[in-house]
């Protein structure tokens, strides 16, 4: 049995390695094809363009322009970490929080209303974003508890996103300054760059994002509540037999997840990054980072940093490539896909180890 387990682990690792090797190879092939079509160059030239303008800047990522770009990556990673952590928390409890973009958007909206419209201090705005996110999360949790499926979450998510955008549009039109958050109402920055996307400040929010995974990991590993959550994620029936109230735990996890997503949104909005990362982008990137990390809070640190690094790389891509589209495709599409595939492989392998399913008597 142990050898079988090792064999299964080896198979999953091998597949993951093939994936890792295949991603740059496929990316390079796609980039070459794009260069062929757009530039009309011959194959060797197109391959050269793909390498110089596409693959190398992508791999170099956030390290391209020294400390400035590194700071931008850190600032972006901070928001992604909170988002990924929000999804990872639910993954550990066996739940897929597909409503994370909606919870993020609610956080952005709450922080923006507090800071730009009511001109409240930044810490009140942060608290309001966390509370709004938690409320949204609780609503998603309640729906999940009632329906038991993620399909309703997708619909609710779309509704919330539409509502938030409508509110922001309408209110910002009536607000002096077009809805921009005054600098005095933003989270104090630790440092700031100069131009373009490099102007993203590293704020205290990033520090919170770095501490968050450590706190969550400690609670998951050493606290009875975290144990109950992991038990539910590992085996729903076993958790029930052990006295874990699955419905209550579902609502609680989704509420906490919403709190983290709302905090991410608030932290992004109050760092002057609300225009930088949209809710949908943050949601998908967070999902991808959480899945790649296998739901582990500490893994989230690395995967979020990798996502932010790749996003930085995408922005460095030259003609004929569209950096924004590439970032959306790679971080929002490819990463969740890879993470999900790895998760499915792991689940399949575990099911194979457990044996066949039987019908309950």
């Amino acid at each position: 049995m142990r050898n079988e387990r090792l064999a299964v682990i080896w198979r999953v690792m091998w597949r993951a390695a093939v994936c890792l090797a295949a991603v740059p190879a496929v990316s390079f092939a796609v980039m070459t094809a794009l260069a062929l079509i757009r530039e009309g160059a011959g194959l060797p030239d197109a391959a050269g363009i793909a390498l110089r303008q596409g693959l190398l800047p992508l791999i170099r990522g956030g390290f391209g322009a020294g400390a400035e770009s590194l700071r931008a990556v850190i600032a972006e990673a901070g928001v992604l970490m909170l988002m990924a952590l929000s999804v990872a928390l639910c993954l550990r409890a066996g739940l897929l929080n597909v409503g994370a973009p909606g919870q993020y958007a609610v956080g952005v909206c709450a922080a923006w209303m507090c800071a730009a419209v009511w001109e409240l201090p930044w810490f009140v705005s942060v608290a309001a974003s966390a509370a709004a996110g938690a409320l949204a999360g609780a609503l998603f949790g309640w729906m999940r508890r009632r329906s038991g499926s993620a399909a309703a979450d997708v619909l609710l998510d779309a509704l919330i996103l539409c509502a938030v955008y409508a509110v922001i549009q309408r209110v910002s039109a009536q607000t002096a300054g077009g809805g921009a958050i005054p600098e005095a109402r933003q989270i104090p920055a630790l440092g700031k760059g100069t131009d373009g996307y490099l102007a993203r400040p590293v704020t205290w929010g990033v520090l919170a994002a770095l501490i968050g995974p450590l706190v969550l990991w400690t609670v998951e590993k050493f606290h009875i509540w975290g144990y109950g959550m992991r038990l539910m994620g590992a085996s729903g029936p076993a958790a029930e037999y052990a006295g874990v109230n699955r419905k209550r735990m579902t609502v609680l996890c989704m509420t906490l997840s919403g709190l983290l997503a709302g905090l991410g949104g608030g932290s992004g909005a109050l760092s002057g990054m609300a225009q930088g990362i949209s809710a949908a982008e943050a949601g998908l990137d967070g999902l991808g980072a959480a899945l790649l990390a296998g739901g582990h809070p500490l893994g989230v640190l690395l995967s979020s940093a990798a996502a932010a690094h790749l996003r930085g790389g995408c922005r460095r891509m030259g003609a004929p490539y569209d950096g924004g589209l590439a970032a959306w495709l790679i971080c929002g599409g490819l990463m969740p896909l890879c993470g999900w595939t790895l998760r499915v492989w792991r689940m399949k392998a575990e099911r194979r180890l457990r044996g066949k399913k039987e019908e309950a008597p």
């Binding site: 085996s235 052990a242 180890l353 309950a360 008597p361």
Partner: protein, 515 residues
């Protein structure tokens, strides 16, 4: 077995199955007009052979010869086209379909129109008469008994006119009467010139129902013998590699006071829309095993879950040593002394370590936690005690996973964990299902030890013979209601089977006899 052209030959594959999918090294030879038994213990590889014969796992490289010609069965459709059909009781069904739709599913193209349906109905009725099968064609397949579901699956195979019919553990969930009926049907199929194969883990079934028998052990073909030339003991020896030992002796113990008293317990709906339970009353006494026997779908797990506190009662009350525990949840009932060995190995979480599995029902125990924070060192020490005391040798230590353990060891681990906390009544749901002979005997010994320690055991089972062998008292559950109560000395497994299938009900014997 005589030489000649076989209806089906399954030769050793060029790539063997991995350890969890054994059986591909078996060479199996079936003849038209004969019933062949494939005998093997749990985990020997019987189902893997049945899967390969019906076109599942073609990548494993089984070599199959049909009427002397090699045939590559790349899919279940290819197997069906070659005239091979599989009858498996536990196959997933579409519960909302009628029995008629279930029979016609996959036979012919598309949904049959009214004319074809009428023709099909006439043919099905003729087959029912020929093979002495009785099914209600209009009933929902999800609502009929296990026996009728199996008969519907047999009719599906007959309707397709398959030449080779493979039954995977046909009698596993049937009462003795239903099993006899099924074996008679197999005989008739063989008499009609078909080659019939059935898998079983009981040598007696092979002896009574088959013409030839092939014995599998750990995926290896041990021997193929004509049944008249052997006996059940020899088959058992071939199957397990050892002589049959008698079951652990049930010592005479006078039943003590009532430990668990259930009065008019009702549950509206089980988990995942399971069978509701209606006004069930029973008493479990110290030092006795109370068997609750019933077929699959009769509400066994719903009742067990309700007694363990996993699902709430909608009516009635439960008392433990006179104290009302109806309002308590699963963890609180566990702390009061209700142990639960759930169905299959749901008592363990495969993704967590042994330490975390040990803690499952001790989250409130100060030995394991202090103000909500887990006391890791204490928990590991308790896990070592648990592993040592119950001889859980498959587990490497507190950090290892239950995935490394055999089915028997996992059952033993859950039972040990439940008994370690001063449990007064143990609820065990199908504790012997899926265990091999050694593991079964081991588990029975443990259950007997619990009984001898003057604690009460409520054993939920689908096997009437198992209930007769282990129980001090037997109650039969049918459709979520108790329909009969017996003492094993005053009844037979067949009689219990009649109540399990709903052919009899206590207090209404006259009505059923007249009918």
């Amino acid at each position: 077995m005589s030489e000649g052209v076989y209806a089906l030959e399954m030769l050793r594959g060029n790539r063997g199955f991995s350890a969890e999918q054994k059986g591909m090294c078996a060479a199996l030879q079936l003849k038209n007009g004969r019933v062949h038994a494939l005998l093997g213990d749990c985990g020997a590889g019987k189902s893997a052979v049945a899967d390969a014969l019906c076109g599942l796992h073609p990548e494993k490289g089984a070599r199959i010869m049909l009427q002397g010609r090699e045939k590559r069965l790349r899919s279940p459709a290819a197997a069906r086209a070659s005239g091979i059909a599989l009858v498996r009781l536990r196959t997933q069904i579409a519960p909302s379909m009628t029995v008629m739709q279930h029979i016609l599913l996959g036979a012919g193209r598309g949904v049959p129109g009214p004319m074809r349906r009428k023709k099909a109905r006439r043919r099905i009725e003729a087959l029912m008469e020929q093979y002495d099968l009785t099914v209600d064609l209009k009933a929902r397949i999800g609502a009929v008994s296990a026996g009728m579901r199996e008969e519907a699956s047999v009719l599906r195979v007959l309707y397709r006119d398959s030449d080779i019919v493979v039954f995977d553990e046909p009698a596993a969930d049937l009462t003795p009467q239903e099993a006899d009926r099924m074996f008679r049907c197999m005989r008739k199929m063989a008499a009609a010139g078909k080659a019939v194969l059935f898998t079983t883990r009981k040598p007696e079934e092979a002896m009574s129902a088959a013409d030839d028998c092939t014995v599998l052990r750990d995926g290896m073909l041990m021997k193929a013998v004509p049944v008249p030339e052997t006996d059940a003991e020899a088959l058992y020896r071939l199957m397990t590699g050892q002589d049959r030992q008698p079951l652990p002796e049930k010592k005479e113990i006078a039943a003590g006071s009532v430990v668990l008293e259930v009065r008019d317990a009702s549950v509206r709906r089980g988990k995942r829309r399971g069978q509701p339970v209606k006004s069930v009353s029973l008493e479990a006494r110290a030092g006795e095993i109370l068997c609750v026997a019933g077929q699959r779908g009769s509400g066994l797990t719903t009742l067990a879950d309700a007694l363990a506190g996993v699902i709430p009662l909608s009516g009635g009350r439960i008392r433990l040593n006179g104290e009302n525990i109806t309002a308590l949840d699963a963890l609180e009932r566990a702390e009061e002394g209700v142990g639960y060995l759930p169905w299959r190995d749901h008592g363990l979480a495969a993704g967590l370590s042994m330490t975390e599995n040990m803690m499952m029902k001790r989250t409130g125990d100060p030995a394991v936690q202090d103000s909500g924070w887990i006391r890791g060192r204490n928990a590991r020490a308790l896990t070592w005690q648990w592993l040592d005391h119950y001889r859980l040798s498959d587990a490497d230590g507190p950090a290892s996973s239950p995935r490394c353990m055999s089915r028997g060891q996992r059952q033993r681990a859950v039972l040990g964990r439940e008994m370690d906390r001063g449990t007064q009544v143990l609820l065990a749901t199908l504790p012997l299902t899926g265990l091999n002979e050694t593991e079964r005997r081991d588990m029975i010994s443990l259950l007997m030890a619990v009984r001898e320690s003057r604690r009460a055991v409520i054993l939920f089972t689908t096997d009437a013979e198992e209930a007769m062998a282990l129980g001090d008292r037997i109650v039969v559950l049918r459709g979520g209601e108790i329909v009969g109560e017996f003492h094993p000395e005053a009844a037979s497994a067949r009689e219990v089977g009649l109540y399990m299938t709903g052919d009899r009900r206590q207090g209404m014997e006259d009505y059923f006899d007249e009918e």
